[in-house]
């Protein structure tokens, strides 16, 4: 991309312009981030009045704690399950909607709106259907199919419920991107393959899917970020990390350890690790996007 025109002889103006953004970034990101790093090297004494420097002890304790390892495994399984189901379903639906069929704009609207539903509300919707006492679906499962539904006792059911709730909301987001991606696939390319006798499936996997790979990669990162970090409201509302610690994902543990257990050093150490993880993902994503823009 060509370089943009630059205004000359303006020494102070650019600084004034970025000032508000920089102030906000510094106060609400760099300062807390620095505090997290700082706090992660300390523990509070029993009265909460004094900080004691402990070096890397908070981190070492974390890595030695089986609960942290478990939380990592649960988060990864959950994020992968949400990513895989939400992306597969969305791609399938986008392919269906992309065919030149009547009603396509109606379908589009009807599939996009859940994007606007809060993650927390998605949790409540599914919680209400599967509540063991009042849930209609829980009642159906138990009385008609003989499956006792109790996600507060059964960890597999709990995992399933949060995965469905999180994916239910995320399909819309992926659908928007996949549909846009499909619409930018050059039609002559696909037609030429059809004339050469390629079946619809071959056309999809050999031509369309490879052309979609930038979209797929972008969505992969975004969905992992969603599954790992943005699903806190569902966990908090639907399972509270339980039963036991079966659905305690990493962000839920940061919150629990910090807000409920008041282990500030431990919570800060976890924050630092998660921040590094997100920043790593951001850089990967950004490099990827920039390469696409400038080639």
């Amino acid at each position: 991309m060509a370089k943009q025109y630059e205004f000359l002889n303006q020494r102070r103006l650019p600084y004034l312009l970025v000032l508000p953004q920089m102030v906000i970034v510094i106060i609400f990101f760099f300062w807390p981030a620095a505090q997290a790093v700082w706090q992660s090297f300390f523990i509070q004494d029993a009265f909460g009045s004094r900080l004691i420097f402990v070096g890397f002890e908070n981190y070492l304790k974390l890595f030695a704690d089986p609960a942290y390892g478990e939380s990592f495994v649960v988060s990864t399984a959950f994020a992968l399950a949400v990513t895989a189901s939400a992306m597969t379903i969305a791609l399938f639906l986008a392919v269906q909607a992309n065919r030149e069929i009547r009603l396509s704009s109606f379908y589009k609207t009807m599939l996009i709106w859940p994007y606007a539903v809060a993650t927390m509300v998605a949790g409540v919707l599914w919680l209400f259907m599967f509540n063991p006492n009042v849930g209609v679906v829980a009642w159906l499962l138990e009385k008609k199919l003989g499956i006792a539904w109790s996600h507060l006792l059964n960890s597999r059911q709990a995992f399933l419920l949060i995965t469905v709730a999180a994916s239910w909301k995320q399909v819309a987001y992926n659908f928007v991107f996949f549909l846009a991606g499909l619409q930018s696939v050059p039609a002559p390319l696909v037609e030429a393959a059809a004339i050469d006798g390629a079946s619809p499936l071959v056309r999809f996997w050999r031509i369309i899917f490879p052309l979609l790979s930038p979209t797929t990669f972008y969505l992969l990162v975004m969905n992992l970020v969603y599954g790992f970090f943005e699903t806190f409201p569902i966990i908090h509302q639907v399972t509270a990390g339980g039963p036991g610690k079966a659905t305690q994902i990493l962000v839920y543990k940061v919150w629990r350890d910090g807000v409920i257990n008041l282990d500030l050093g431990g919570s800060a150490a976890q924050s630092v690790i998660l921040m590094l993880l997100v920043i790593g993902l951001t850089v990967v994503q950004f490099r990827f996007i920039e390469r696409k823009v400038t080639y």
Binding site: Y15, P32, L111, A116, L125, F128, M129, F232
Partner: protein
């Protein structure tokens, strides 16, 4: 053969309708529950068609809220609205200025500013809650609108989108305005910003929804009922034992919490889709 192709042509419709049904059903249950009495819901299963308490329940929810809560949906809606508007408008203004500086000026700290903004691109508040909480508490901004809004303005999505758009503006336009003797800020105000209408609209939709749907942050910093947003109210109403939950009020509040963002996405669908997919390009 003809039969076969007929079925094949019908299949996409079948799949799409199936998906729509799966998306709509949970909402339908919520709607039904919001029109019934507490007793009807508790004696599971509740009937699957709407009851006759629509006006009663929505009236109660809007004007009083659940008994164990002490906040009406009307007040909470106001708080959600202030938060959503504060975040979306604040973010757009701040980001337009920052993107203008980064794209149209060459200054010494440009690279540094750029990277320190972009590092926050995907950073959810979830991963830095305790330290951010401490900062807000040190600044005495707990239980306040600025405290609810400002930390949420951080992320760089809007700067990113505007930067991309600004870079695609033909350089001759800026050059011409300079030759005509316009000040850089005049160019910004009367040429660049009006050109940016579409991305601004897209950003507004995305950020309004983002703000309206914030959960963890208000959960942390609003301890006074007066500052509860709708989502926090719903959480508080649900945190009692099952028998005490006034499901009909909760469900009415859930629908009220969904309607504004969904209405915005549906009515501004075109701008919204364009804005979303532009950040990726």
């Amino acid at each position: 053969m003809i039969e076969h192709s007929k079925i094949r042509r019908a299949m996409p419709h079948v799949y799409l309708w199936l998906a729509i049904a799966l998306l709509v059903f949970p909402i339908y249950f919520v709607f039904v529950a919001s029109t019934r009495t507490s007793a009807e819901i508790l004696s599971a299963p509740m009937p699957l068609y709407p009851g006759d308490r629509f006006f009663q329940n929505y009236g109660d929810a809007l004007l009083q809220g659940a008994k164990n809560l002490g906040a009406s949906a009307f007040v909470m809606m106001g708080n959600s609205l202030v938060m959503a508007l504060g975040i979306s408008v604040g973010k757009i203004v701040v980001s337009l200025l920052a993107a203008f500086a980064i794209v149209f000026f060459d200054f010494r700290l440009r690279k540094l500013c750029f990277w320190s903004i972009f590092i926050t691109l995907m950073l959810p508040v979830e991963v830095r809650i305790m330290p951010t909480y401490k900062v807000i508490s040190d600044l005495h901004m707990l239980n306040s609108y600025p405290g609810l809004i400002m930390p949420m303005i951080v992320s760089a999505t809007a700067v990113f989108l505007f930067r991309q758009f600004f870079m695609s503006v033909p350089r001759e336009i800026a050059e011409a305005s300079q030759i005509d003797g316009a000040h850089a800020m005049q160019f910004f105000r009367s040429i660049l910003v009006p050109m940016t209408r579409t991305p601004v609209a897209a950003m507004f939709v995305i950020q309004f929804i983002y703000g309206w749907n914030q959960y963890l942050w208000p959960l942390l910093i609003t301890t006074k009922v007066r500052y509860y947003t709708l989502l926090i109210g719903i959480n508080r109403m649900l945190s009692g034992a099952d028998v005490q939950i006034e499901w009909q009020i909760v469900m009415a509040t859930v629908l009220l919490a969904m309607i504004p963002p969904v209405a915005i996405v549906v009515t501004m669908q075109k701008q919204f889709v364009a804005g979303m997919t532009d950040t990726e390009k």
